[in-house]
Assembly symmetry: C2
Homo-oligomer: 208 residues x 2
């Protein structure tokens, strides 16, 4: 398969949500026009995105909602369970551990870790916060797929290294700063300041 | 100015952070190769991104770090103060209200609101959580630029409508679901499940 841009993957997630809405409404077919309109993109972009994954739909007949939804879910690796560990039991980690949107997608939080004795032993919605020093031995047993890193800015790289050593191949990071991961490990960073910069850009260039 | 894709704006934020790092290290010039390497993109993409905003750099001499940084900051609308209100004093709202990365970029939290009597009146790092019913009158006085919406999934559209009526033109939303804003208002949604889907995609298609 060709290398797929992150922006394409993100649009697939958006198309999927609209297809789920159509399914709930009992609608069986859709078009690239309709998908585009509900996803903030163009019909040409929809067709291009879907073409990466082989041929979908029939000219003039549109796409089968069921077939396309099933295909996108498989492309996104959904329809199975992914074991997620959260490192950092602060506010963001806590918000994520109880986020209802995860379990419905098959993302199952199997462990929450912190180094702060004040936090270790606390219970969050059924998750016991564990000492991060037991992370490696837990990981050897649990074999988590994804680690969420939600710690303050200090020593983030050493935590990333710890996650990589534990054999985890995907990291969602909320800490700022540039981080290194070896080839074969995917690191995605959510940077809240960058999200706001997208808005200050829009506000600044609105009338330009 | 041509319409700039969200992905371009995001890369500008990444270039800016690297240019700041170079400034801190006292380095005066850089190249599209170097910018690309540190931003996870290609030199051609860097040149294309920067070309949207007029000509930068001299062939063979590279870019002046100072000049490029200054220009990108202005493009992103930084270098001024943006007033931010947070609606929803739950875990995510709380994490954001105390996020240090905001103030350094000029994003200043001027108000935090909730409808829950248990939360109203609480103090977070200097911010008093106020009753959301006073939001409109506060907004008329404070004139916030950006609203962060961090509430549970119910009634999100009505809160969006409230923000829009208050004259705010930019919204960063953490709630799931499709939302409508009028033309002239920018809505950005951060969806944590979609971030994880980017990782399940990577894990699934790694060896394909």
């Amino acid at each position: 398969m060709k290398r797929i841009a992150e922006s394409t993957v993100r649009r697939l997630s958006v198309y999927m949500r609209y297809l789920e809405e159509l399914t709930a409404r009992g609608i069986a077919t859709t078009s690239s026009d309709e998908l585009a309109e509900h996803s903030g993109t163009t019909p040409a972009q929809v067709r291009k995105d879907l073409s990466f994954f082989g041929s979908f739909g029939k000219r003039g007949l549109g796409y089968s909602v069921h077939e396309l939804l099933d295909r996108i879910r498989r492309i996104l690796g959904l329809g199975r369970e992914w074991k997620v560990v959260i490192i950092g039991a602060g506010k963001i980690g806590s918000a994520l551990s109880t986020y209802r949107g995860f379990t419905t997608r098959g993302f199952c939080v199997v462990g929450v870790y912190d180094k702060d004795p004040q936090k270790i032993g606390r219970r969050w919605d059924g998750h016991l916060v564990r000492d991060v020093t037991v992370f490696e031995s837990d990981a050897a047993e649990l074999r988590p797929d994804i680690a969420v890193l939600a710690i303050p800015a200090e020593n983030v790289q050493s935590e990333v290294d710890r996650i990589v050593r534990a054999g985890i191949k995907a990291i969602l990071n909320f800490a700022p700063g540039r981080l290194q991961v070896p080839a074969g490990v995917t690191l995605k960073t959510v940077n809240m300041a960058m999200e706001l910069e997208g808005l200050s850009f829009a506000l600044t260039n609105r009338d330009a």
